[in-house]
């Protein structure tokens, strides 16, 4: 039998808790981590009869900001609905969520893939309330009672749901999508994005289909993945499991499977009764929301530029290659440094708005300078940073200094080869290129008279070390050499310093003939 080739189809559903102070529909504190069970609870989040929820404005603003960052459309009208299902983690017997009028739809983000960027569609972003937490108790001995404990602290914490299109074709793409998505949430400051602590959760829909068809085969929902690694492993396992079933001529059952991390497998979870009979209807206690276009645009203007957009801009505007843009935008400090340097060179830097705007490219001379700055940052600068274990934010060389050095190169004052030495000196001492190049700073002092006067100053100022040396402490000499080098800003000829110091110390050793 000829084995069919299958393609993997993955869509992800992410739930992220928002970093508001209070819960979404009541004023209980949403910061329940570490709190005693059931101490962040009021009649609203407890679901007592007769209470009225009120929408937390901040939660909606964070969600709309996120949706904009994910390039979604924000409809004017949005509302909450009740999603009904009986489960002990749901205090009211329904969850307030959004059904047919979510706050946003039709967005996308890009993920890096084999040196290219791949679009992943975002179906929708909507708001809902988190549920209570169930703690399962199993008795130590057989025959004992198994039960669950309900902690309501989490109930009503604002939960943002982000649903992707089934656009991912491998577990690695799914992992990349999650990383990009979490980066955006962290950049916006709307969520901690912590998977291990459960403030950023991911469920996946996985199916296979014969390559070259658009036929949708039965999909399986995978849950219980508590880390990026777990997502990758669970999806890789599930893809292979389904492939094996299909290759044996079997059929995939539509079901929910839970990832068991320590065993490295997914197992079928007893399907919840009527899991698909949610009987959604509009939440009568919450008036609908109408978002003015002015407010949406104001929010859009306030968005920071995201790494992906900045990366794109570095390529289109400055004409950098994708690998250069990748490295430069991997850290915000590096990207900022790059642009500060260009600004100091008089190259017009363009502040991107972060929505994939295609800017007209910079002129050729500007791009040439950008390329040169990029070469220095990714070459010598990175090499020295790595060698000294420093981060670019700790480096002594300012963007202005680097720009000045590049100007000296352009004018022909220094050659490319000299520039490397000059740069290393700048990196080490924090002095400017001009200071170094003008000679006074860069040339070594080998004039005995000049070094001698420094040595004398150092000896006079360090009588304690002189005394130590006389007592036989050899390291006192090393200290004094260091002091002379420091005093001469590293320019004194070290062997001359050494011999002059020895000479002086020995002379002073002799009884004074005064």
């Amino acid at each position: 039998m000829l084995l069919m080739d299958y393609e993997t189809v993955i869509g992800l559903e992410v739930h992220a808790q928002l970093l508001t102070r209070s819960k979404i529909f009541c004023p209980c504190s949403a910061d329940y981590a570490g709190a005693e069970p059931n101490t962040h609870v009021c009649p609203v989040c407890l679901g007592l009869p007769g209470v009225l929820p009120t929408i937390n404005w901040q939660a909606m603003e964070y969600a709309v900001m996120t949706a904009l960052a994910l390039n979604c459309a924000i409809p004017e009208y949005t509302k909450f609905d009740r999603k009904n299902y009986p489960y002990p983690d749901l205090m009211k017997g329904y969850q307030i969520s959004q059904y047919d009028a979510p706050l946003s739809r039709d967005g996308w983000i890009t993920i890096p893939l084999n040196g290219q960027q791949k679009h992943i569609g975002i179906t929708r972003v909507h708001m809902e309330e988190d549920t209570a937490k169930l703690l399962h108790r199993t008795p130590p001995k057989a025959g004992g009672e198994t039960y669950s404990l309900v902690d309501v602290n989490r109930s009503g914490v604002p939960l943002m749901e982000i649903v992707s299109e089934p656009d991912m074709r491998s577990p690695e793409e799914a992992r990349q999508y999650l990383i990009q998505l979490r980066d955006i949430l962290l950049y916006l400051g709307v969520s901690t994005g912590n998977m291990e602590e459960g403030s950023f959760r991911c469920d996946a829909n996985v199916s296979l289909r014969p390559v070259g068809t658009s036929q949708l085969l039965t999909k399986v929902e995978v849950k219980n993945m508590n880390s990026f690694r777990a997502v990758y492993r669970a999806l890789a396992y599930e893809v292979e499991r389904q492939r094996a079933v299909l290759e044996r001529g079997g059929t995939i059952v539509q079901e929910t499977r839970g990832w068991v991390d320590d065993k490295g497998i997914t197992v079928s979870q007893r399907s919840k009764e009527f899991a698909h009979d949610y009987r959604y209807f509009p939440e009568p206690d919450l008036p609908p929301m109408v978002f003015s276009r002015e407010w949406v645009e104001e929010l859009r203007a306030r968005l920071p530029e995201f790494p992906q957009a900045r990366r794109q801009r570095f390529m289109t505007y400055y004409g950098l290659s994708s690998s250069e843009a990748d490295v430069l935008t991997a850290s915000r400090d590096m990207a900022d440094y790059f642009e500060a340097c260009l600004k100091a060179l008089g190259v017009p830097t363009s502040k991107g708005k972060g929505h994939g705007d295609i800017l007209p490219p910079l002129d050729a001379s500007g791009q040439k300078r950008a390329k040169s700055v990029s070469n220095w940052l990714l070459g010598e600068f990175s090499r020295l940073l790595n060698a000294t274990g420093q981060d670019i934010s700790q480096a002594q060389v300012t963007p202005e200094n680097l720009a000045q050095m590049l100007n000296l190169m352009e004018k022909g004052t220094i050659s490319g080869k000299m520039a490397k030495e000059v740069f290393e000196e700048m990196f080490r001492s924090g002095r400017s290129a001009e200071e170094i190049v003008s000679g006074t700073a860069y040339t070594q002092i080998s004039d005995a008279g000049e070094v001698e006067s420094v040595v004398e100053r150092v000896l006079a100022a360090n009588s304690r070390a002189v005394e130590d040396f006389r007592q036989g402490k050899a390291q006192a000499l090393t200290f004094l050499v260091g002091q002379v080098m420091k005093e001469s800003k590293g320019r004194a000829n070290p062997s001359l310093v050494n011999s002059l110091l020895r000479q002086k110390l020995e002379v002073q050793d002799e009884p004074s003939h005064g």
Binding site: T20, R21, S22, P27, C28, S29, A30, D31, E36, P37, N38, T39, H40, V41, C42, P43, L46, T54, I55, N56, W57, Q58, A59, M60, K79, N84, P86, Y87, P88, D89, A101, L134, L135, H136, T146, Y147, S148, L149, V150, D151, V152, N224, G258, Q269, R270, E273, F274, D277, R279, P282, P284, L286, P287, P288, M289, V290
Partner: protein, 93 residues
């Protein structure tokens, strides 16, 4: 309305029904549905769906946290309480 439909609705609502009650509600619920069938005759083609009958929109509160209930009060109506939590029958995922 069929027997199965009534039993399904009863289960969703977590209401236990006797044999006689199932029969009785088959009749009641059918009558209600018949009444909605009459309402459906009204031409609503020019009217947008109504999700809310209160003429309000954009009612928000600002993000300010205030103290919650004391735990004794939270748990006061719980039939069974343990370790500061409500105790419920085993729920297996």
């Amino acid at each position: 309305m069929s027997r199965q439909e009534v039993e399904h609705i009863a289960l969703l609502a977590r209401v236990g029904l006797t044999e006689q009650e199932v029969e009785r509600f088959q009749g009641h619920l059918s009558q209600i549905l018949d009444y909605f069938a009459i309402l459906e005759e009204v031409d609503t083609s020019g009217i947008s769906p109504t999700a809310q009958v209160i003429a309000l929109e954009n009612i928000f509160r600002s993000d300010v946290a205030s103290p919650s209930l004391p735990r004794e009060q939270v748990l006061a109506n719980g039939p069974q309480v343990e370790e500061g939590c409500f105790k419920v029958k085993a729920v297996l995922e």
